[in-house]
C-alpha cells in the first residue's frame, strides 16, 4: 500500500488496529519494516479501561523490551525506504556513543556545567502537610526538580545529547519541530552552543499563541519556519526537510515517539532523571521511591524517570494524561485512556483516532501535552500493567498550578501541574510515610499569561 508522500511521510494510521483489552498476543503483528499491509480490525466500541488492576508483571517481556525497536507489538520503523538507511546509520551512531567514553565524558560535562545537573530531589514539606489526614498521616512528597535545568524543562537533557551526536556525524544542519516551543528553545540553545545551524518548524496556530517563544528561538540564532496547522503538521514538514537533505541535516526529535531508534534514544538520554533519583532516594531515606508520578504528553519526562525503576517490582509507576475539558467532551489529550492502537509518525502505539482511523486533534491547557499519540514504550507499559495511567482535567491542573505556587513557591509548568493534580486522588489512598516522587518536569513562568486569562481576578 503506497503511502501518499504528500501527506505524512511516516505512515499515518489508515485503518485502526483495535486492541481488545486482554488480547495483545492475538493482534497479528504486521511486518515491522517497509509498508504495512493493512488489516482492518474493528473492535468493540468500548473505551479502554482506565483503572486497570495491576496484573502479575511479566518481567521477561518487560526487560526484553526495546530490542529491535519493538516494545511488545509497539514501536517499530513504519517508514518509507528512503529513510531506512538513515535510521540505520543513526542507530549505529547511537549505539556507538552509548559506550564511547569520550562522548560520555563530554556529555557529562555539558550536563553538569551547561544544563546544571544534577537536579535536586526536593522534599516538599508544605505540600506533604497539605495532604496529611486528621491523624497527621500521609505520604512524603518529593519533587525531582527538572524545572531547574537550563531552559526550564527536561527537554534539554535530550537536545544537548542529540546535538552532540549530530556534530559527531558531521551534520551541519539540525531540524526540529516544536509545539509549545520548549523543545524548539532547547534545540536552538544546544545548536548555538555547538555552532550548528538550526531550523525550527512550528505550526501557525502555535506561533500565534507563543510569540515570546518564537522570539527566543530567533534570539538563539535559529530560524523559525511557519507551517500551516499545528505540531503534527510541523513535524511532518520537518521530516520532509530532513529527507531532502539526508547527508547534511539531522532531525532532532524531542520525544519518545517516531520510528526506531528515536524512542529508545530519547528515553536513554532522559533516563538520567531516574538514575539520579535512585541515588538521591538512597542517600535521603536509604531506600527506593514507592510511587513515581509524571505527566504524559508523548512521554519523554515520564520514561525518563520511570525507566530506571521498571525492573523494581515494588515501585509503582503512575502516568497522568490530560483530560482537557473532560474525557467525554472530545477535547482532551488522553491517548492511553481513550485511544486505539495504530501507526503514527513511524511507530505503532496508542493513538487518538476516529472510527475511520483519522487522527484526532488533541487539546489541553498544558500545551506540551497536546499530542494525539504517545510513545510506544508507554503503550507497552500500559498493556503489561507495569505502569498505571490516569487523567486530570484542565481545571484540576490549573488548581494544582496555583496550589504548588502557594505552598512551595515553585511555579510548575502547566504540563507538570497535571502530575501534581493527581496527588489529590492519590495521596488519600497511600499509607503513612509512603515515599512519592513527582517529576517536576518544567517551570511555569511561560504559563503565567495563560493562567492569568483563566483567573483574571486573582487576589492575594
Amino acid at each position: 500500500m503506497a503511502s501518499n508522500i504528500k501527506s505524512d511521510l511516516f505512515l499515518t494510521n489508515k485503518t485502526s488496529f483495535a486492541c481488545a483489552r486482554q488480547s495483545i498476543p492475538s493482534v497479528t503483528r504486521a511486518a515491522s519494516n517497509g509498508f504495512v499491509a493493512a488489516r482492518a480490525m474493528k473492535s468493540g466500541t468500548e473505551a479502554l479501561n482506565l483503572e486497570r488492576p495491576l496484573r502479575r508483571i511479566e518481567f521477561d517481556a518487560v526487560t526484553r523490551r526495546g530490542s529491535g525497536g519493538k516494545f511488545g507489538i509497539y514501536g517499530g520503523k513504519y517508514v518509507p525506504e528512503t529513510l531506512m538507511s538513515c535510521l540505520g546509520k543513526l542507530e549505529a551512531e547511537f549505539n556507538f556513543v552509548l559506550h564511547d567514553a569520550e562522548f560520555q565524558a563530554e556529555l557529562a560535562t555539558a550536563l553538569r556545567d551547561y544544563v546544571g545537573r544534577e537536579t535536586p530531589l526536593y522534599f516538599a514539606e508544605r505540600l506533604t502537610d497539605h495532604y496529611k489526614n486528621e491523624n497527621g498521616e500521609g505520604p512524603d512528597i518529593y519533587l525531582k526538580r527538572e524545572d531547574l535545568n537550563h531552559c526550564g524543562a527536561h527537554k534539554m537533557n535530550n537536545a544537548i545529547a542529540q546535538a552532540m551526536i549530530a556534530r559527531r556525524m558531521g551534520r551541519q544542519r539540525v531540524v526540529a519541530a516544536t509545539g509549545a516551543g520548549q523543545h524548539g528553545i532547547a534545540t536552538a540553545a544546544a545548536c548555538a552552543k555547538l555552532s550548528l545551524d538550526c531550523t525550527i518548524f512550528m505550526g501557525s496556530e502555535d506561533m500565534e499563541k507563543q510569540a515570546s517563544n518564537v522570539f527566543l528561538i530567533k534570539l538563539l540564532g535559529a530560524q523559525v519556519t511557519q507551517v500551516e496547522g499545528s505540531f503534527k503538521d510541523a513535524s511532518s514538514e520537518a521530516i520532509r526537510q530532513w529527507v531532502n537533505d539526508l547527508e547534511g541535516s539531522y532531525y532532532l526529535t524531542g520525544t519518545v515517539v517516531g520510528p526506531h531508534p528515536c524512542p529508545s534514544m530519547v528515553r536513554e538520554f532522559q533516563s538520567i532523571i531516574g538514575r539520579e533519583t535512585r541515588r538521591q532516594a538512597m542517600e535521603r531515606w536509604g531506600g527506593r521511591p514507592d510511587v513515581v508520578v509524571a505527566c504524559i504528553g508523548s512521554g519523554s519526562n515520564a520514561l525518563g524517570i520511570f525507566h530506571e525503576f521498571i525492573g523494581d517490582e515494588g515501585v509503582r509507576l503512575v502516568g497522568v494524561e490530560a483530560a482537557g475539558f473532560g474525557l467525554n467532551s472530545g477535547r482532551h489529550a488522553a491517548t492511553l485512556a481513550t485511544g486505539h492502537v495504530g501507526v503514527y509518525h513511524g511507530a505503532m502505539s496508542y493513538l487518538m483516532q476516529d472510527q475511520e482511523g483519522q487522527v484526532l486533534g488533541a487539546h489541553s491547557v498544558g500545551v506540551g501535552l497536546q499530542y494525539p499519540g504517545v510513545g510506544p514504550e508507554l503503550s507497552f507499559l500500559k498493556d503489561t500493567g507495569r505502569a498505571e495511567f490516569y487523567t486530570v482535567t484542565d481545571k484540576e491542573a490549573l488548581n494544582a498550578y496555583q496550589l504548588l505556587s502557594r505552598l512551595e513557591g515553585i511555579i510548575p509548568a502547566m504540563e507538570a501541574a497535571h502530575a501534581f493534580a493527581y496527588l489529590d486522588k492519590l495521596c488519600p489512598t497511600l499509607p503513612d510515610s509512603t515515599k512519592v516522587v513527582v517529576n517536576c518536569s518544567g517551570r511555569g513562568d511561560k504559563d503565567a499569561p495563560m493562567f492569568f486569562q483563566h483567573q483574571p481576578t486573582l487576589n492575594a
Binding site: 526538580r145 505556587s405 513557591g409
Partner: protein
C-alpha cells in the same frame, strides 16, 4: 574652616567633616550636602577629610580588613542613618545575624535549602564559543568562565539572600515580611520564599513599575503575596523603598524587612553580602578544580551591588585578583539618563547608608535610567563605594545599546539568554578582553536569565 576644592566645580570633590553622625534624619530623604562649600560654613571640627573622585591613595590593610567595622562602616561609607524607632530592630537583627553565623543548625538548614530548593551549587561554565569570539588574530585571548547564577530557582542570584533572610525572620519569630521591588525580581524572590516558609508577604512596588511589569505582579500574587502600589514621588523603586521603610517603622515588632541588595542601613549591607558570598566561595573551589588556580579577573554588573559583592567578597584579600564592576550608562554618561552611580555620583545618604548616589545640585535624587530595571537604582551599596575609593575594585559602565548587543551575542554564541542586567557585565568584555594576556582566567557572574526581558528585547530589537 574654609574648604578647598581640589577639582573643577563639575566634579565630585566634596569636603566632609569627620563629625559624629548627623542629626537623625528621615530615612526617606537624603541628607542635603550643599553644592559648593561656601567659605562661611563654620565647621566645628578641626579635622577635615577630602574625598576626591579618583583616590590614588591606598589605605593599608588594617582599615581595609574591617569590612565593616562595629558601626557598620566601610571606611566612611555605610552606617545607620535611620530614625530612633528603627535602631532597636537593627540591633536585634545584627545580634541575630551574628548569633546565627555561629549556629551550626542554622547553617545546615540553610545549606540544605540552598541545595535542594535553590539548586546550588551553580556551575562554573567554560564559555567556549565566547572565548573563541574574543581570541585575537594570533589565536591568543583570555579564557572566559560564567558563574551560572541564572540556573538558580527563580532565575537570579536574588534568592540566595531572600531564602536566608526568611529563615532568619522565622528565627526571630517574625511572620510578616515586607520588601520593595523595582522590576519585580526581588519581589518574586521574596514572595517565593514566603510561600515556601508560610510567611505573610507584602511587596511594595511603584505604581508606574506595576504597569510596566504586570507579569511579575501577577507572579507575586500567584505565589500568595500582596502587592501594594506606591503612588508617591515618581512611583518607582526609590519611592517603593521609602514606603517599605515607613511600614517597617510602624510594624517593627512583627515584621522583618527583606532588603534586596547590599544597600540600606547596617547590618543589611554586610548581611546581604554574607548571604551571597556563597557565589564567591563556590567559585574559588571550582576554579581550583578546573585549572588549579584562582581567577585573574572577576566581572559583575552593579545596580545595588549584591551579585557583585557575592562574587567579589571571597577574593577581596587576594590582591592579584582584579575586581571589575559594570554599571548602567543608559543613554550615555553625558545624557543625564543613566544609572552610573560610582562614575557620576557624589557621596550622600540614601535609605539609611552613606554611599555614592546620583543627586543634583540641591541634593535631590536624580531619577536614573537603564534599559535593565534591576540596575535602575540611583544609589549603590556602601561597600562598593569603599572599594572604589581605596582602589581595590574598578568600576566602568556600558550603555543600553552595548548591553543589548551583548544580550544577543551570548544567546547566539552559547545558547544562554542572560538577564539585561548581566548583559552589562558581558558588554564590558568587548573592552576588557583585548587588554588581557593569553590564557587569563576571567570569571563573569551570570547573575540572571533573560526570559523576563523578552518584551523589552522585542520592543528594542524589532526582531
Amino acid at each position: 574652616m574654609a574648604a578647598s576644592i581640589k577639582a573643577p566645580p563639575s566634579s565630585s570633590s566634596r569636603i566632609f567633616p569627620t563629625l559624629p553622625r548627623p542629626q537623625p534624619l528621615s530615612p526617606f530623604k537624603p541628607a542635603r550636602f550643599t553644592a559648593s562649600p561656601s567659605p562661611t560654613r563654620q565647621l566645628r571640627s578641626t579635622i577635615s577629610c577630602t574625598l576626591v573622585r579618583d583616590s590614588a591613595v591606598r589605605m593599608d590593610a588594617p582599615a581595609q580588613s574591617r569590612r565593616p567595622d562595629s558601626f557598620g562602616r566601610f571606611g566612611s561609607f555605610g552606617g545607620k542613618y535611620v530614625p530612633e524607632t528603627l535602631m532597636h530592630a537593627l540591633s536585634q537583627l545584627e545580634s541575630a545575624f551574628h548569633a546565627l553565623a555561629g549556629d551550626d543548625d542554622f547553617q545546615k538548614e540553610l545549606d540544605g535549602i540552598l541545595k535542594d530548593y535553590v539548586g546550588r551549587e551553580s556551575p562554573l561554565y567554560f564559555a567556549e564559543r565566547l572565548t573563541e569570539h574574543y581570541k585575537r588574530p594570533n589565536g591568543e585571548g583570555p579564557h572566559i568562565y560564567l558563574k551560572r547564577e541564572d540556573l538558580n530557582h527563580t532565575g537570579a542570584h536574588k534568592i540566595n539572600n531572600a531564602v536566608a533572610q526568611a529563615l532568619l525572620a522565622k528565627r526571630l519569630g517574625k511572620n510578616r515580611i515586607i520588601a520593595e521591588t523595582g522590576a519585580g525580581q526581588h519581589g518574586v524572590a521574596t514572595a517565593t520564599v514566603c510561600a515556601r516558609f508560610g510567611l505573610q508577604c507584602i511587596i511594595y512596588m511603584g505604581a508606574q513599575d506595576m504597569e510596566r511589569q504586570a507579569l511579575n505582579v501577577f507572579r507575586m500574587r500567584l505565589l500568595g503575596a500582596e502587592v501594594r502600589p506606591v503612588h508617591s514621588g515618581t512611583a518607582t523603586l526609590k519611592d517603593a523603598t521609602s514606603e517599605a521603610i515607613r511600614d517597617w517603622v510602624t510594624n517593627v515588632e512583627t515584621t522583618h524587612y527583606i532588603l534586596g541588595s547590599v544597600a540600606g542601613p547596617h547590618p543589611y549591607p554586610v548581611m546581604v553580602r554574607e548571604f551571597h558570598a556563597v557565589i564567591g566561595k563556590e567559585t574559588r573551589r571550582q576554579a581550583f578544580e578546573k585549572w588549579g588556580g584562582k581567577p585573574e579577573v572577576l566581572v559583575a554588573c552593579v545596580g545595588g551591588g549584591s551579585n557583585a559583592m557575592g562574587l567579589f567578597h571571597e577574593f577581596v584579600d587576594d590582591k592579584e585578583v582584579r575586581l571589575i564592576g559594570v554599571e548602567a550608562a543608559g543613554f550615555g554618561l553625558d545624557s543625564g539618563k543613566h544609572a552610573a552611580t560610582l562614575t557620576k555620583g557624589e557621596v550622600g545618604v540614601l535609605h539609611g547608608a552613606m554611599s555614592y548616589l546620583l543627586q543634583d545640585e540641591d541634593g535631590q535624587i536624580v531619577e536614573p535610567h537603564s534599559i535593565s530595571a534591576g540596575l535602575d537604582y540611583p544609589g549603590v551599596g556602601p561597600e562598593h563605594s569603599f572599594l572604589k575609593d581605596i582602589g581595590r575594585a574598578e568600576y566602568y559602565s556600558c550603555t543600553d545599546e552595548e548591553a543589548m548587543e551583548a544580550f544577543k551575542r551570548l544567546s547566539r554564541l552559547e545558547g544562554i539568554i542572560p538577564a539585561l542586567e548581566t548583559s552589562h557585565a558581558l558588554a564590558f568584555l568587548e573592552k576588557l578582553c583585548p587588554t588581557l594576556p593569553d590564557g587569563a582566567k576571567v570569571v563573569l557572574n551570570c547573575s540572571g536569565r533573560g526570559d523576563k526581558d523578552v518584551q523589552t528585547a522585542i520592543k528594542y530589537l524589532q526582531v
